[in-house]
Structure formats: structure tokens, C-alpha cells
Amino acid sequence: MSILSLKSVSKSFGALTVTDDASFDVPQGQALGIIGPNGAGKSTLFNLITGNIRADQGRIHFDGRDITKVSAMERCLTGIGRSFQIPQPFEKLTVYENLLVAATHGRNMSERAVRDDCIDVLERTELIGRANTPAGQLSLLERKRLELSRAMATQPKLLLLDEIAGGLTEGECQALIGTIKDVHAQGVTIIWIEHVLHALTSVVERLLVLDFGKVIGLGDPQQIMASQEVREIYLGIDV
């Protein structure tokens, strides 16, 4: 059963079509990777799914419900969690309070009821030692971890990760992959935009290629990466 389904979704900014008739399904529990050159419309596709941007055309279904016209806030409540490409922490709140906002509002529960879950997430993402630090003082890796932790605190059914491995060292990247695999193993559906391909392919079961807003490839990561068209568009080289 597919948890997310896009049917002919399009979005234009003026004359520029950034999402062009995109249709695809994501089965429950799958990890889907999205690749494509810069400006291919990957982040826009995410924003369409999370509701930060509204589609001009097409329908988006999530968990058996048409969410095309539903606000970002309500989509979170129905189980869509996201990380931002550029980390967007609540800077004056502490790391723990960042998770607390997400858990109390994203799950509509009291502070007391979500406390242990927040602590559990912080332990899994290895941020527990920074729990009382204002988020504005975190390093880049810690900010990325906070993005992931905050999305996890809402206990999403579908987790969208936007270039969460970008800018990290190899060691940091491996640690983050471990955490993402761990989340995926618990049955959370994941859609992950990433330029760090080896990180992506070590987690995802399927790969989607985007170019000029169009879905130009969808399938097994090995086959996708081997296809000539993808290599030309994505890597910009003749092979």
C-alpha cells in the first residue's frame, strides 16, 4: 500500500515551471532517494509534499487522505515530518525545548506525556549532552542532528530529509547514516534528497531522478545510476 501518492503535480513560479507533471507513489515503509542537478526542483517537490508551497495542479494523497489543500501545520499533524536543507532551529530555545515544541504540538500532547520520548530521541541522535544548550550555539553537525531529532519528535509516518548529509565530514556522515537507518528500521517511510550519493544509496531502496522539474527516472538505485541518461544529466559527463 502506498503511503504517499502524487498525481500530475505541477508548480510554476511565473514562467518558470519548477515541478512539471510529477507522478509517483511511495509504498509504506520504503526509503526513497531523490537526486537531480541543482535547480532541478528537488526542494520545491519537498515543499509541495510538506505544504510549505501549494501545488498549482494535481493531487497529493497521504495515508489515504487528499492533502492537496491542507496546510503545513495540519500535514505535520497527519504524520509528515521534515528537516530543512538549511537548518532552521528555534535559536533561543534549548535543544530539549526545540524537541518539546515539536512533540507537544506535532502530536498534540502535554509536555509531561512527551518528555520521555523527547529524551529517547536525543539519546538516539546523540544530542543528549547538548540538551540544555540554546540551539543558536550548536555546530553544523549538531544543527543537522537537531533537524532530524525535531522531525523525529513529531513521530512522523513519513520523514522527509533535505540534504541532511551535506557539508559533513565522512565520520560525521557515517554516524548520521546510522541514525537514519535506525529510524527506517522502525518502519518510518523516508524520502531523502541528497547529493552525497554513497550516503543515499546505503539507505534507500529506490531512487527518483528529477531534472527541470520532471521525473525522468524511478527505480532500483543500481539500475538508475547505471543508466546513460541519468549519468549525462546528473553527472554532466558523457559515458
Binding site: 501545520m73 533561543k92 515544541v101 540544555n132
Partner: protein, 351 residues
């Protein structure tokens, strides 16, 4: 080892005790202080209420309004209207002042929320001017020149006779004492209410929206609802303060009741020099403001210029205000809201 969450600090425990003592002293003030002191304290407390509410709006909600005089003025006029036209007692009419301010706040928010930042600020000011001009057309309440509360309404106001007997004072002094006690109650409820709000999950949501509205909505925070909540709450409280201030003055005119200088510029000054985004800030600010006003009372327009220069200097050297400066240096918080996680795997230095 289990984790615990606490907001208390050793300083806040001491502050609780000192706060309780201060409240007892303030309640019993009319028993030993003169009428001048009571009037000064009334001024301080009502300005404190306005400052706390503006701080809730701008410092926590990110809604920089310069139209709060609309709610002071509407509250005041509602109170006068209830007394003069409906024959109500002034004391319960104050509640009506809050309700009318709330009613005005709904259409105000409907229009002003379409604007952001500086446009929102100017929009609220324009709306306040419109309300002032409309009220000035209200002939039964004196039109542009204003009116006074009828003598019979002020002389047998609720509680006044009781206070006369209790403290053995004249009717005029008893009215001031009544106004003072009401102002004290309003200030305590306002500060207590804001502090309570900030410690709930709605307070967290407010901080999240202020820091990053888009991210807040992505984790399920209803940012629009938070804006409404803050705007309406502050309008209601500001309306109550307006009703109370003009109950004590017993004389009203549109220019005074809708004065942008008295009810918004001074209030912003108080919050900015005290420290925006903290409960302690407006308390510090109102004391500084009162001191300056007393010291500079004889210097005419130099007084306003001094306030302006001081505000600019504070903004440049201490953008978080006097309290911000102090709490940055000392880590002191009298009204702590930060939820600290302790115990478990946290090392002591990480707490």
C-alpha cells in the same frame, strides 16, 4: 538514573520569597503611605500593565504594534459610556472596557494581520487614529472636547464607602486607594498570567514562531492561532487598563485617551530600556521611566529629548535592555521559563 525537568533556579526561589514580601507590602501600602505616593504607584502599576502587554505582543509574539492606544481609548470610552449612558457603577464598567477593547481587536487583527513588520506597525497606528476620529464624533460623550464622570457616579462608587471607613480617609483619597488596589490586582494578574502562559506548551509555541515561523508550522504549531491569542489577550488587558486609568482620572477626551505618546511611545520606551522579551524588563523599565519623569518634570521638551537619546543609547549599547545586560552578566532570572533537563546521563557541567 532518571531524568528530571525543572525551570527553577536558586535565584528564582529567592525571588519567589522576595516577590511575596513585595506583594504584601504593596497591598498594605495605603495603610502607611500618603496620597501622593498612592497616585504615583497607580501610575507605575498601570504603565507596568501596558508595558507587560506590549512586551507579550512584540517581545514574545513578534507583533510590533504602535496602535495600543486604540484599546486604551476604547476601554476608557466604554467605561464612560457604561457609566453615563447605562448608569452602571464605574468599577464593574472596567470589565466592560476590556470586553469592548476585545471586540475592537477582532476587526483590527483581521486587517492588520495581512501586514508584516513595519507595515503591521503603521497599520495598527492608522486603525487607532481611525477609531479616535470616530469616537470624537460621539456627541453624547462630549465629542472632540470630551466629558467628565458624573459626580454622583464617582461619589458612591463600589467599595469607596468601605475604604473611607477602614482607613479613615476622605472620599477623594478613598477613590485613589481603590484605583490603586485595582491597578495592583491587574498588574499581578497580568504578570502572573503571562508567566503562566510562557510556561505552558503555548509559550513554547510562541517562542518557536518568533524564532522561525515556517519551521514552527512544520512541527505542527498553529502560528496564526498564536498571533490571534496574543493580540486578543493583550487588547483585552490593555482595555481593562484604559478603563481603570480613566476611572481614576474621571475626565476624558479623545486626544488624551487615544494619545500615541502616552499609551504606546512611553510604553515602548519602558519595554526597550528595561529589556524586551523578558518579564523582568518592563518592571525595571517602568521604574527607570518613573524616575526620569520625576527628575525631568521641570524641563519641558528637554524631557522628551532625554528619553529619546537614552532610548537610542540603550538600543546601541544594550539591545536587550538593562535587564538583558544584567542577566547576561550574572545569569540571573527572576521568572525562569527555560526547561532544564537534569540527571540521567547528563554531566553536571551540561546542566
Amino acid at each position: 538514573m532518571a531524568y528530571t525537568v525543572t525551570t527553577q533556579t536558586p535565584a528564582s526561589r529567592i525571588a519567589t520569597i522576595l516577590g511575596a514580601i513585595t506583594i504584601v507590602v504593596l497591598i498594605s501600602l495605603p495603610f502607611f503611605a500618603g496620597r501622593g505616593t498612592i497616585q504615583d504607584m497607580f501610575f507605575i502599576l498601570t504603565m507596568l500593565v501596558l508595558a507587560q502587554l506590549w512586551n507579550l505582543l512584540a517581545g514574545y509574539g513578534g507583533l510590533v504594534s504602535i496602535g495600543q492606544q486604540a484599546f486604551v481609548g476604547m476601554g476608557a470610552y466604554a467605561m464612560f459610556g457604561a457609566v453615563i449612558l447605562l448608569g452602571f457603577d464605574p468599577v464593574p464598567s472596567i470589565l466592560l472596557a476590556g470586553v469592548v477593547a476585545l471586540m475592537i481587536a477582532v476587526p483590527t487583527a483581521f486587517f492588520a494581520f495581512r501586514l508584516n513588520g513595519a507595515y503591521f506597525a503603521i497599520g495598527t497606528w492608522v486603525i487607532a487614529e481611525v477609531v479616535r476620529l470616530l469616537v470624537a464624533q460621539w456627541k453624547t460623550l462630549g465629542g472632540g472636547t470630551g466629558t467628565s464622570l458624573p459626580r454622583e457616579a464617582t461619589s458612591d462608587m463600589w467599595f469607596v464607602a468601605g475604604i473611607e471607613k477602614l482607613l479613615d480617609v476622605r472620599s477623594a483619597a478613598a477613590r485613589d486607594i481603590l484605583a490603586y488596589w485595582l491597578a495592583l490586582a491587574l498588574a499581578l494578574v497580568t504578570i502572573g498570567g503571562i508567566y503562566w502562559l510562557l510556561r505552558t506548551r503555548r509559550g513554547l509555541a510562541l517562542a518557536a514562531v518568533r524564532d522561525n515561523s515556517e519551521a514552527a508550522q512544520s512541527v505542527g504549531v498553529d502560528a496564526v492561532r498564536m498571533k490571534w491569542l496574543v493580540f486578543l489577550t493583550s487588547a483585552f488587558g490593555t482595555g481593562l487598563a484604559g478603563g481603570l486609568i480613566y476611572m481614576q482620572k474621571a475626565r476624558i477626551s479623545p486626544d488624551a485617551a487615544f494619545s500615541v505618546t502616552d499609551w504606546t511611545a512611553y510604553v515602548i520606551f519602558i519595554v526597550v530600556i528595561g529589556g524586551i522579551g523578558t518579564i523582568e524588563g518592563p518592571i525595571v523599565g517602568v521604574l527607570v521611566f518613573f524616575t526620569l519623569q520625576t527628575l525631568l518634570a521641570d524641563f519641558g521638551s528637554w524631557y522628551l529629548m532625554t528619553l529619546g537619546v537614552l532610548a537610542i543609547v540603550i538600543m546601541l549599547v544594550a539591545p536587550r535592555g538593562l535587564w538583558g545586560l544584567l542577566s547576561e552578566r550574572t545569569g540571573l532570572h527572576l521568572f525562569p521559563i527555560r526547561r532544564r533537563l537534569t540527571g540521567g546521563k547528563l554531566k553536571p557541567e551540561e546542566r
